[in-house]
């Protein structure tokens, strides 16, 4: 019998029941909830007279819709306040751990979960948010779900899912200096296209991921959904175990030793077969930037937007629509493009390592006058670290505006919006039309590129500056 993939090992051990000509009933180990996609699910529970089956496997925080200033004061936006208050009430009613606004661990749910040790290898993890794929960095099956499914998991700790196909993406070789995990995933998505991974669950494999930090792995897995894949995961190793050990929700003592034994079995067997394999050469990856209105529309930062003639005929109208929205022309060079805003934050790049990269770059420099630069830490813990390490001081001295934790301008549900027609270089995950505010124009890039852009006031290759300095 052929060996199993890591994905199969986790999936198969969580199947409660297979439905003939239907989905599997999958048991869920951890359920993360936030204020935007949970209220209707709790309403549904109430209507059916049900309770939360496993409140101790459910963890909540408000993040999508919270202001990133004055978090110690009542939320001004009435609708936002009602959503956040509703989350608090529901958590109190059903006995769910809540890390509320202005408390010690609040943050973007996918930054907070791993920091608290909620995320552990081999688990199934869901959340009503597509970037739940982030937790795959720990060797988990983690994926985003809709609100009806949130209700299902609250009520039964299970979800109905057809088993996805399996794809392995191998990246081997030596990354060039100053090529970051964000560049690696933007490169992969550009190669795969925004729909290329649909129907698959991805395992990232190869020395590039093995050598990556846990935070880098989270950045990679986070964006799996941007090629349509439901999730992505990486085999856990010593780095993973060290990260998890000693966290608030992590197993302790003998339980930890027992868990370690189990975690050590979490790898893809050598003779396991994937439905699809893709391989990329690490040496070909360079700092990346997007030029269009989906994350698959990315190029090397020194590159050009494709010519219309290189786009398949049926796809030309959508491509042209995207260029019109961005105010770009096919064939344009990206270097030198005008930038008005720089946003550093989100579940993709709002972690301490990201802030360190930015601070290292901008230390002793000033942001360009034409650029508004926002830094939004991914969580209260990241914020504390950034203050303790002097990062906040460096960034503020360089003219960056430090905000408080939340999803912020990644999806612009709160007041952190890029104005219509303005250009933002953003470390977040989506460049859809209006994603960062109605009419906003987004170019996705790494924290290092974003830092260099903030200082230069236009799109630049961070390496050119670093290597000639």
């Amino acid at each position: 019998m052929a060996g199993k993939t890591l994905f199969d090992k986790i999936w198969d051990s969580h199947v409660v029941q297979e439905i003939p000509d239907g989905p599997s009933v999958l048991y869920i180990d951890r359920h993360l909830i936030h204020e935007v996609t949970s209220p209707q699910a709790f309403n549904g529970l109430g209507r059916r007279g049900l309770s939360v089956m496993r409140p101790n496997q459910t963890v909540a925080t408000p993040d999508h819709n919270v202001p990133t200033i004055n978090q110690d004061k009542p939320i001004e936006d009435k609708l936002s306040k009602f959503q956040v208050d509703t989350l608090t009430e529901n958590c109190e009613k059903y006995g769910i751990d809540l890390y509320g606004l202005n408390t010690e661990y609040q943050g973007v749910v996918h930054v907070m979960g791993p920091q608290l040790g909620v995320t552990q290898p081999g688990m199934t993890i869901v959340c009503g948010d597509s970037h739940t794929s982030t937790h795959g960095a720990f060797g988990c099956i983690a994926f985003g779900i809709g609100t009806s499914e949130v209700e299902m998991v609250l009520a039964t700790q299970c979800i109905m899912q057809p088993k996805p196909k399996k794809m392995r993406i191998n990246v081997n070789g030596q990354l060039k200096p100053n090529v970051s995990p964000k560049d690696v995933i933007l490169y992969i998505i550009a190669k795969m296209t925004a729909a290329g991974g649909t129907g698959y669950f991805v395992e990232y494999s190869g020395n590039v991921f093995r050598e990556m930090s846990m935070q880098g792995r989270m950045t990679v897995c986070n964006m799996s959904i941007e090629m349509g894949a439901r999730g992505g995961l990486i085999s856990p190793d010593l780095k993973t175990f060290e990260f998890v050990e000693g966290k608030k929700y992590s197993p302790k003592g003998a339980d930890y030793d027992k868990a370690l034994e189990k975690w050590a079995t979490l790898y893809t067997d050598e003779d396991a077969v994937f439905d699809r394999e893709e391989s990329f050469d690490a040496g070909d990856i360079e700092p990346m930037i997007t030029f269009g209105t989906n994350p698959g529309m990315g190029v090397k930062i020194t590159g050009k937007i494709p010519e219309l003639s290189s786009i398949a005929g049926s796809e030309q109208p959508s491509f042209q629509k995207s260029m019109n929205y961005m105010g770009f022309q096919a064939g344009d060079t990206m270097i030198g493009k005008k930038v008005d805003y720089v946003f550093i934050g989100s579940c993709t790049n709002g972690r301490i390592e990201d802030l360190r990269v930015v601070a290292d770059y901008v230390k002793g420099k000033q942001k360009a006058e034409n650029v508004t630069a926002w830094i939004v830490p991914g969580s209260k813990e990241v914020e504390r670290q950034a203050i303790a390490e002097g990062i906040v001081e460096v960034l503020e001295a360089a003219g960056f505006k430090m905000r408080q934790p939340g999803c912020s301008a990644c999806l612009a549900m709160n007041d952190d919006k890029i104005p219509a027609g303005k250009y933002a270089v953003s470390t977040s995950n989506r460049n859809f039309e209006g994603r960062q505010g109605p009419g906003s124009r987004t170019m996705l890039a790494s924290p290092l590129t974003a830092a260099a852009v903030a200082v230069a006031g236009k799109v630049v290759d961070p390496r050119g500056i670093l290597e000639t300095a």
Binding site: V16, Q17, I19, P20, D21, G22, P23, V25, Y27, V36, T37, P39, Q40, N43, G44, R48, L50, H64, N65, D77, L79, Q83, T86, G128, D129, S130, T132, G144, I145, G146, T147, S148, E149, E151, M152, T156, Q157, C158, M160, P162, P164, A194, A195, T198, I225, G228, R230, N294, S314, E315, P317, S318, L411, A412, M413, R430, F432, E433, P438, G439
Partner: protein, 196 residues
Amino acid sequence: MPVAKFEQLISTAVPLPIENVDTDQIIPARFLKATTREGFGDNLFRDWRYDKNDQPIADFILNNPIYSGEILVGGKNFGCGSSREHAAWAVGGAGFKVVVSSFFADIFKGNALNNGILPITVSDEFLATIFSEIEGNPKAEFKVDLKNQTFTIVSSGENTSFEINGYKKECMLNGYDDIDYLLNIKDKIQAFEAAM
């Protein structure tokens, strides 16, 4: 939430021949502040439908009274992006019961089914045929038959079959939802937990 039963539908259709329609277009994030499932239809494709002064944009298809119906026909990779079920609520809230495309993003597809909206995947060629049929006659009718899993262009009789798993088909035909199913096997779930 229990959903309406779905068996058959004959309707005109609204064409949206744009690829990669993401959920931020279907329902922009700033409209996700509600705590109920109702009212999202008004903001379906909000930023394509209305300008910044909230005036209807005349050339957007949903503002063109020639086009109407309970079937929305979208370009390839419809519903990509965020997991927000609000996108399905917006599509349903605007009166659509069927969405046709040559390719759906996974989460949107699941969310649609969980709300009694039938996502129908057809070939790129058949999708092009549907678009040209509507272009030729905005009042062209289409027939959706869930039991037989067929989608038919009424005028020409040209049709295609579509896939749906047997479980979801039964759910839609009978108006069941997944929670009903899961609650029925709760003993089994608890036994599974105990054995973990």
